[in-house]
Symmetry: C2
């Protein structure tokens, strides 16, 4: 055999890494689509793929920024040839271009343009100040713009995992970015198990148990990941729960990764950030946010940020943690500028009194109301399925019902595959996120248009009850 | 001390990784800028930061695609309210939107939308068919869209490095993405030394020497990286050189990474791709291209692609190499859609007869002519600097002159830092790219506007001759 074509040994961690959100079931869906069979992609939180419209404000500004008319300023003054664009659209585009004089085509600073990091800091402060006990303002120099939130999560795990015995605590179930990245970096995944029957609640005992059994195995736990609101569970952590996690991390000397990308998907509940509850407590905190979720749904543009508080010192180095993070980010040069600009627009939306305000608010409310309505529709359908229960209130973009009556020998993977083949509904099996042994689940993103749901839910109910033999 | 604030042990590979293009000298430049001192950022190939205008065709299409007018089709028919946009702008936007029915806000397939991968395959075929002996067409299923070319290079190195003794051959000097990524992945960098005095030529002896001394040290060499045209050298590999590299890789059983992001920066020379010369030879080849360089210069949008030929089998796995690559890409969900669309536009520019053709060609030629003119200006200035010589013809976006007369005890880092402090010119020292022991260099991107160059070059000449004491 030609030497060049001999099998190659590749990185074992990557070979074994799993990422079910784009795994075997979605891959089968893609085959079905190719064969002309219509599928409904509920495997992933990708709202615009299911008909959600982008916010007009975002796209009108963006369209001007990527191809600025020669007479942007004149247009603003006259408003006669602005193609019907409101004054705040034009002035926002102007602000962006003033702060990015080379436009969108130049590399920016690796952490992103400073004016955007300043706007993010203002957004965080405005969000957190009313609820914080010991308010500490955000620092633009500790904010990094990233290609989606995923990139920020990867940076932190890559830095913290320095040895196979380094442990990262993650909730089970979790978003598989975390398990995949821990595996890729060669670290150890330390599972903790939020209590499903109490709406996926976390408490001190749960954390201690996971930590204790890991340290007993010789694992050095370095960090705890909390996803709030939860993915895939939708569970919302209240202030006391957050405080408990912070106290736990403080005592054990852990950093916290707070994945808060669903912070706008609250449906009436109120969001508390880890930063607000942290206050002056000196626990390292890495918070993530994204333009992909909330009511923006701008997944394809890959925008997000990482905010750092209380960056730890680095053992045996004159470099600070932020120096090293900066260096790591700089190898990719910078995140994409359009994602950066959409992040800016997300954190500086039109204000009351601005010409675009009413319309923006209407679009926002419509999207969030629809999401809640669709989640409620699906939850109601669960009631008609034998042995299906979904715990906790509605949050994020997902429901994660437990399937209690699967036939002997059938897994939730089998169930989801059959559900896809029978109804076209593409979901992800619970084992793709991790789950307590002996339980079965699936995750469904509550994103399809209402009419489509009303069509497919009865089919699902019928499929389900036949599948479980009821 | 609070346990949370104890110094943390972080990943040693990342701690030690170096990336000079955004290292100490550019960081000092940023400080100077903050203090009100004007600097000229020639440390990086970032054309639009130095006044290069984006191509009108790209941006006009993009502006329509991110915020499609309701009446795009009507506009096309009537052309009366299209804001003066040419028919091919409108129809290109229409084609993109037809193929991306959810617009730019949805995640795409992890490897990118199929119609873009098909357009890339056509572009590669059109480029290579005339010159190829044994022409093999490109396969859209073996093309991955990426956030810039950097991401594609990282994917391949991450997959190939599975052990600290795994070696990757890279040219010295090289673009530090490679050394940084090899270090980050914990592999071994195996240097080969193109011959500066022969215009940075590579030959079989040079490759054998590097390979032989690495294997003698117990290194398993898995891959050879070639940057063509060269970064930082600008050197252009001719067909014979490429054939020699391919034969070498074939005999030794190595994969090839062909970094061809400067393929349009030829200034009269003709480009041969590794794929064209490879023909039917079964050597694994990973080719990279990008929207950041050439005459596009769309760095900030982070677009590019990776094309795979002859993917090797994977030892001890039922997965193919492409499966694993797909899985690795899927953890980041997808590259950003605007970078994808600009990649599409780069590979499908206006054709003769299209309404935008003449203007697009004029803009392209202007950019490339200016680049050559500026490179020539700088090369002429070297002649007035004692002991400065730049070898080989002009390629890519850089000159990499050798500094033969640095005062005893001074390094090229010291020189570049003083050059920055004295003239505002921000370059990168040769040691940031690697260089033969005992030699000193710097890399300058030939991007500043002509007037600025004419102003700063005399200052540089004066600085230089004083610095070296002539």
């Amino acid at each position: 055999m030609n030497k060049s074509l001999q099998p190659v040994v590749i990185n074992q961690n990557i070979l074994e890494m799993e990422y079910a959100v784009r795994g075997a079931i979605p891959q089968r869906a893609a085959q079905l689509e190719k064969a002309g069979f219509k599928t409904i992609p509920c495997n992933i939180g990708n709202p615009q793929a299911l008909g959600q419209k982008p916010l007009s404000f975002y796209r009108q500004v963006l369209s001007l920024v990527v191809n600025p008319p020669d007479n942007l300023t004149k247009k603003k003054a006259g408003l006669n040839s602005g193609g019907g664009l409101a004054e705040d659209i034009l002035s926002t585009a102007e602000t962006i271009l003033k702060n990015m004089p080379s436009g969108t085509g130049a590399y920016t600073a690796s952490s992103g343009p400073r004016f955007i990091r300043e706007a993010i800091a203002r957004f965080i402060d405005e969000r957190d100040r009313p609820a914080a006990v010991d308010f500490v303002p955000a620092d633009p120099d500790r904010i990094f713009l990233t290609n989606g939130a995923s990139e920020g999560a990867k940076y932190i795990l890559e830095l913290l995992i320095s040895d196979p015995a380094d442990g990262i605590m993650i909730p089970i179930p979790q978003y598989p970015l975390y398990s995949a990245t821990i595996r890729k970096c060669g670290g150890t995944q330390v599972n903790y198990y939020p209590d499903e029957d109490r709406g996926w609640k976390i408490d001190r005992d749960i954390l201690e148990e996971a930590y204790g059994s890991a340290t007993a195995r010789g694992i050095t736990v370095k960090c705890i990941v909390v996803i709030n609101p939860g993915n895939p569970t939708g569970a919302i952590a209240d202030e006391n729960t957050i405080r408990e996690v912070i106290e736990f991390a403080d005592e054990k000397g852990l950093a916290i990764v707070a994945d808060e990308v669903y912070q706008e998907n609250m449906y009436g509940a109120s969001f508390r950030s880890f930063a607000a509850v942290l206050g002056k407590r000196a626990v390292p905190l890495f918070s993530l946010h994204s333009i992909s979720k909330g009511y923006s749904g701008e997944c394809g543009h890959r925008g997000g940020y990482l905010e750092v508080r209380n960056a730890p010192a680095v053992r045996n180095s004159i470099l600070t943690f932020l120096d090293v993070l900066q260096k790591l980010a700089s190898v990719s040069l910078c995140s994409n500028t359009v994602g950066q600009i959409l992040t800016y627009l997300m954190v500086s939306p039109p204000r009351p009194g601005d010409p675009s305000y009413e319309n923006h608010l209407r679009e926002k409310n419509y999207i969030l109301d629809e999401l809640l309505r669709k989640a409620t529709l699906i939850k109601a359908a669960f009631k008609k399925m034998a042995g299906v229960e979904s715990f906790g209130r509605i949050g994020a973009m997902y429901l994660f019902p437990r399937l209690d009556l699967l036939p002997r020998g059938k897994t939730d993977f089998d169930y989801c595959m059959s559900l896809l083949e029978t109804t076209g509904l593409c979901t992800v099996n619970g084992s793709g996120f991790g789950q307590k042994e002996g339980t079965s689940h699936l995750r469904i993103a509550f994103l399809p248009p209402g009419e489509l749901l009303e069509e497919v839910l009865p089919k699902w109910i019928e499929f389900h009850n036949r599948y479980v033999g009821q």
